[in-house]
Assembly symmetry: C2
Amino acid sequence: MTLSTAPTRTTAERSLPPADSRQQVRQFVQTLQDEICQGLEKLDGVACFQEDLWEREEGGGGRTRVIRGGDVFEQGGVNFSEVWGTELPPAILMQRPEAAGHGFYATGTSMVLHPHNPYVPTVHLNYRYFEAGPVWWFGGGADLTPYYPFAEDAVHFHQTLKQACDISHPHYYPTFKRWCDEYFYLKHRQEARGIGGIFFDYQDDRGTLYRGPNPESEAAAYSNALGDLAPRSWDDIFTFVQNCGRSFLPSYLPIAERRRSMDYCDRERNFQLYRRGRYVEFNLVYDRGTIFGLQTQGRTESILMSLPPLVRWQYTYQPEPDTPEAELYETFLKPQNWAEGQPNC
Amino acid sequence: MTLSTAPTRTTAERSLPPADSRQQVRQFVQTLQDEICQGLEKLDGVACFQEDLWEREEGGGGRTRVIRGGDVFEQGGVNFSEVWGTELPPAILMQRPEAAGHGFYATGTSMVLHPHNPYVPTVHLNYRYFEAGPVWWFGGGADLTPYYPFAEDAVHFHQTLKQACDISHPHYYPTFKRWCDEYFYLKHRQEARGIGGIFFDYQDDRGTLYRGPNPESEAAAYSNALGDLAPRSWDDIFTFVQNCGRSFLPSYLPIAERRRSMDYCDRERNFQLYRRGRYVEFNLVYDRGTIFGLQTQGRTESILMSLPPLVRWQYTYQPEPDTPEAELYETFLKPQNWAEGQPNC
C-alpha cells in the first residue's frame, strides 16, 4: 500500500485525523470542484458554470455551480458544500452509533451531468468526508450511465478508475466496483442504473472495506473472502480519495469527446428521456446523498440539481429485440467486469 | 350521523366487519373503477383505457387501466388491486401494532390523470381498505393539482367533496381537508402539492378522526378540539367511503370541461411540465401508496403509472411577480378554505 505519510506524526497518531483535517479536505474538494468545472467548460466550449453561494441556517454553506444549454451539456451541476450541526440524521447514526450525541462536520463535492446527445453518457461523482465526535470517515465514488451501448466507453471508464484505486491497494477497485453495482441498483425495476464505477462509504482506520448495509451481498462476500486490510491511517484514505477524484476528468472527457457529435434522431432522444426517468427514481427513492441533504435541511435546489432537465415516463415500455436499446438492457444494465475488457456478449 | 345499518346485525356486531366485508369492498372499488373509467372516456371523447390484468406472486393481483394520447388526457391511469400476504410492511405496523404477526388483506382503487392542456388540473384519487388480524380500516381521499389559478374550480372541487362528507358527519370534511393539506405537503419545498381536497387513513370503529403521524399538526389540533365521535360501525365508514368515491366524477368533470379548450402557448406548457416535477418529487419521496406498493413487491409499472408522461426540472425557477404563475404559488399552493368560497386574495 502506498502511504502518503505525514512525517511529523507517529504511527499511533496516524489513525487520528490531523489537527487541520477539515481544512485539508475542504481545500481538496474545493480544488476538485474548480478543476472539474474548468475541464467541463473546456469540453463544452459554449456554456459556462453559473455559481450560487449559499449559507445554511443550522451551520455551513456551499457553492453550487450549474451549467445549462451548452454544446455538450443540457444541464448539469457541480456542488461543493460544508455543513455542521448538533447531530447526524438517524439513518447515518444507525451505521455509526459512536457518533450519537456528538456534533458533526461534513464536506464534499458532488456532480451530475446530463448531456444533450443521447450517445454521451450521464455521469455522477461524489466525494465526502465526515467527522462526528470520536469517528471520521470518507465516502464517495463515480459512476457512468450510458443510454447507448459502447463497450469501449465502459472499459475506458472502469480501467481509469481501477488505475486510480490500484495506487492505494489492489483490493480497493474490485471491492468498491461490486459495492457500486450493489448501491446503484433499482430494486423496484430489478435493474442497474448504469454501468457502475466505484462506490465506498464509512472508510476509516479499520481494515474492513465493505461497510454497506447488506452482509449477504456479493460485495460483502468478496470483501470477507479477501480478509481485512491492516489498519489504515487517515492520510492513506485521504490520498486514495484524492486519486479517485483526480481520475474523473481522464475517465469521462475522452468518452464525451468521441460521442458528442454523433447524429441522432427522435428515437434516440426519446429513449434518453425515458431512461432519465430511472435517474429520477433512483435519486428520489434510494440515494443516500439526496436523503442526507433533505433530512439535514440542505438547500433543496442544490440537492435536486441532479434531476434531469427533461424526462419521460412511458407505461410498460420495453425495447424491441435486437436493437441497441435492447443491448443496453441485456448487457450494460447488468454487472460486468469492464476493467478486464469487453464481456462475452 | 347517517347510518346504513345492516338490519340483521346487532349494534355490537356492527363494529366488526361483516362476514362478506372483503367481497363488499372489492365489489365497490371495482365498480368505482368502472364508473370512473367510463366517465373519463366520455369526457375525453378520443382515447380509451387499455387494461392489463396482473397477478402478484405473494398473493393477489389487479387490473391496471391506462389512457394515453387522448383529447383531454396526455396520460393517466386508474388502478384496481387486491393483495394479501403474511405481514404488513413495518411503516404500517408502526401505526397499527395490533396487526403485527397477522396476515393482511388490502384492496383499493387509485387514479392519477395528467391532462395535455395546462389549464386542466391534474387529479388524484385513492380509496383503500385493510384487514389484518384483529384490525381493519379504510383510508383514501381525492385532491386537485391545478397549474393555473381558477378560484371557481377550487371552490367547486372542495364543495363537492364537502357535500359527500357532510352526508355522514359534519366533522369529516373540515378534519380530512386539513389532513389533506398536511399530507400533500412537500417539506423540502415548503409548498403544498396543489389545492388539496380530503385525505384520511386508519378510519375504524374508534371515534378519533385524525390518525396521522403528527400530534402537533393543525389537523390533529382541530380533531382534538372537536372531540371524539361516538364509536362508529364498519357500515358507517364504508358508506362514507362510497359517498366520497362517487363524488369524484361530479367534482372533476365540470372543471375539465370548462378548461379543456382554452388556448395556451409554450409558456403555459413549460410551466405545467415544470410543476409536474413536484408531482414526481411527492410521489417518490413521500407518498404512502407508492411506498406501500414498492415495499410489498407490487407491480412497479402500475405503481409508477402515476408519474407524468413528460416532466421538466429547472434550477432555481421562480415565477415572475404579478403573473398567473405567481398567483398559483402565493394563493393556491397555500391552504385556503375553498369550500367557503374564494379566499381574500
